[in-house]
């Protein structure tokens, strides 16, 4: 009797170690991909800037509405590295202070969209039948119109502001995740281990969350990573149109809109926030590209 239980932990350990081995191999392949390492370095740099923003920014209060009208429209100088805007705020400080906001916006949108999309996709793929048809028709409705158009409509209806823009973008972002999850669940549902779990009496919830979804994680993570940059880009686009963040929020898209009137004579107002957006999106795209190679080896040979 004393020996029987010892078999169980050993088996579990071997399953875990196989998973760990896969993970270690993945890390190795990710690290040998120069481009994604560059992307990761850029992202770590961005994270550091976001965390230490109040220390890095020479005038952190410029992000929350302080003005300096005497020094308005100053070109880049030692005092104001990226110049100043129409009411004398330091662009460098505002770009730095906006980094954390951009990261938050991307995180919230992607997490919301993943939660909604994965839930709907998993239910749809697992349940099948009329429920699947119904949920997929709803997904189709969102996919017949380009996301940006609906995002503009929803955020306009909810009212201008960064929170509403984030809600609007999340509400149009989930269908991609739903489609992806559904297709993964559809094929995993037929696997012998699911049948086995069902055979020993596991409930539907347990099968979905413990057996099916853990095996569907890789493609979902790839999509989350590649989508992150584009979510930030979309939020910036809404800010640029004037529907997203409102002044004095240091949101990069809104800052570009702010500088548009002064372009190209006072080029610095719009140029630096644009470069910041590009850096953020580019780093996520590089990482996503590398992850795709690691987690989905068929995509790059």
């Amino acid at each position: 009797m004393a020996e029987l239980p010892s078999i169980q932990p050993e088996k579990r350990k071997s399953a875990r170690s196989a998973r760990w081995e896969n993970f270690a191999r993945g890390i190795y392949r990710f690290r040998s991909n120069t481009l994604s390492m560059i992307g990761l370095t850029m992202l770590i740099f961005i994270l550091l800037v976001a965390v230490f923003a109040p220390i890095i920014a020479p005038y952190p209060e410029d992000a929350s509405g302080k003005t300096r009208v005497i020094a308005r429209l100053q070109p880049p100088s030692a005092e104001f590295a990226f110049g100043t805007d129409k009411i004398g705020r330091d662009i460098f400080s505002r770009v730095v202070m906006g980094t954390g906001l951009a990261l938050q916006v991307g995180t919230v949108i992607i997490l919301l969209a993943t939660t909604i999309g994965v839930t709907i996709g998993a239910i749809s793929g697992y349940a099948g039948g009329w429920l699947d048809d119904f949920l997929m028709r709803i997904t189709d409705i969102f996919l017949t119109v380009p996301a940006l158009v609906l995002a503009i409509a929803i955020s306009a209806a909810l009212g201008k502001g960064i929170i509403n823009a984030m809600i609007g973008i999340s509400l149009v972002w989930w269908p991609g995740f739903a489609r992806l999850t559904r297709s993964l669940v559809l094929s995993l549902r037929e696997e012998p281990f699911v049948e086995a779990a069902y055979g020993i009496g596991a409930g539907h919830m347990r099968i979905i969350f413990r057996h099916i979804l853990p095996n569907a994680v890789s493609p979902i993570i790839i999509k989350m990573t590649t989508d992150f940059g584009f979510a930030v880009l979309t939020a910036a686009a809404l800010g640029f149109i004037g529907l997203g963040a409102q002044p004095p929020t240091p949101e990069w898209g809104a800052m570009i809109n702010d500088g548009r009137r002064f372009f190209p004579d006072e080029w610095w107002i719009a140029t630096f926030p644009g470069i910041a957006i590009w850096l953020m999106v580019f780093s996520w795209n590089l990482i996503g590209d590398g992850l795709r190679d690691v987690l989905d080896p068929r995509s790059r040979r």
Partner: protein, 337 residues
């Protein structure tokens, strides 16, 4: 199953989706917490004036009735009118839509012309320098905020270098070609007016180029992936064995196989760029749906926004059906069923 029947079935299947879309946009337009009518009537408007305006627009009726009225209007060609300009939405869409269509189509064309060869080269030089360069370049360009890059290009190519006009579809003094399609490039060709054709091409080029960057990466990637897959097929080895030149194998046999997947991505991109055009149009003062949509959304004018969403839905559905047809032409193995 016969192809005509298949297409008919696809068209019928689009109807419930578009109905759902109309319900969705209608609900969005009615959840507005602000008071669009109050805004439109102006600050001096009394309650009676606002109530009268509401009655006139049918906004005092229960929501289901409003929806039924809206839908019957849609089918009769009456898509409502703008709260502000009081112009009919369908008329506005007819005016602005060709400009957006022309811009989007040109951008998709540029992205295809650049992206497919880049994908082919990547696949031919897999994991060697040209492959890496194409990969980095496509990620590099897709990461730019298009509206920002549009501003930069407008300044460089329009102001500094003076190579291209900075805004609009035509110079103020040039009359647009007689409208047959509303696409200036096509119309001017129909009129055999080469001068107008060239002028509008110059106006179109930079906006379309900037817009195309958004599609470049995905087209390159899918072309590369499907080329790589096709290159490993047995028929390629066989063709090489019997001595067919590599170039001919690539362009005549492999590319044709690979293009099938690329077509899908191109058509998806058409939809995305149609939305991206909204931002580009704002910068280049391009008189299309984008400018119209931005203006309407900032002033909570929902009738035009609903119209735009439904128009985009219809266009995108048509593009998808066309894609399926092209699919069948490129790949004779596909049976419609």
């Amino acid at each position: 199953m016969n192809i005509r029947f298949y297409i008919l079935r696809r068209i019928v299947l689009v109807i419930p989706t578009l109905l759902g879309l109309s319900i969705l946009t209608f609900s969005i337009a009615r959840i507005v917490p602000g008071d669009p009518v109050g805004l439109a009537a102006g600050p001096q408007a009394t309650e009676e004036i606002k109530a009268a305006l509401r009655r006139e627009l049918g906004l005092d009726q229960p929501l289901p009735i409003q929806y039924v009225n809206y839908m019957t209007g849609l089918f009769r060609g009456d898509w409502g009118e703008s709260l502000y300009t009081r112009r009919s939405v369908i008329g506005d869409l007819r005016t602005f839509w060709p400009a957006t269509l022309e811009l989007t189509t040109a951008a998709v064309a540029i992205a295809t012309i650049l992206g497919v060869p880049a994908g082919v080269i990547s696949a031919m030089y897999r994991n060697r320098l040209p492959d890496h360069v194409a990969r980095v370049l496509s990620l590099f360009f897709v990461s730019f905020p298009s509206f920002w890059l549009a501003m930069i290009f407008q300044t460089w190519f329009g102001l500094e270098l003076g190579w291209f006009p900075i805004s609009k579809r035509l110079p103020v003094l040039v009359a647009p070609p007689a409208a047959t399609t509303g696409l200036f490039l096509v119309d001017s060709l129909i009129q055999l007016d080469l001068q107008t054709f060239l002028v509008s091409l110059r106006h179109l080029f930079i906006p379309a180029l900037v817009l195309s960057f958004g599609a470049f990466a995905s087209i390159t990637r899918i072309t590369r992936a499907s080329m790589v897959e096709a290159l490993e097929k047995d028929f390629v080895r066989m063709e090489r064995a019997i001595g067919i030149p590599y170039r001919i194998i690539i362009f005549k046999y492999v590319l044709r196989n690979a293009l099938i997947a690329t077509i899908t991505v191109i058509s998806l991109n058409f939809g995305w760029l149609m939305a991206g055009a909204i931002l580009i149009e704002t910068i280049f003062d391009w008189p299309g749906l984008g400018l119209y949509a931005v203006k309407a959304s900032l002033s909570l004018d929902f009738q035009p926004i609903m119209g735009i969403a439904i128009l985009y839905g219809i266009v995108f559905s048509i593009v998808n059906i066309l894609t399926d047809i092209v699919y069948g032409i490129l790949d004779p193995r596909i049976r419609y069923g």
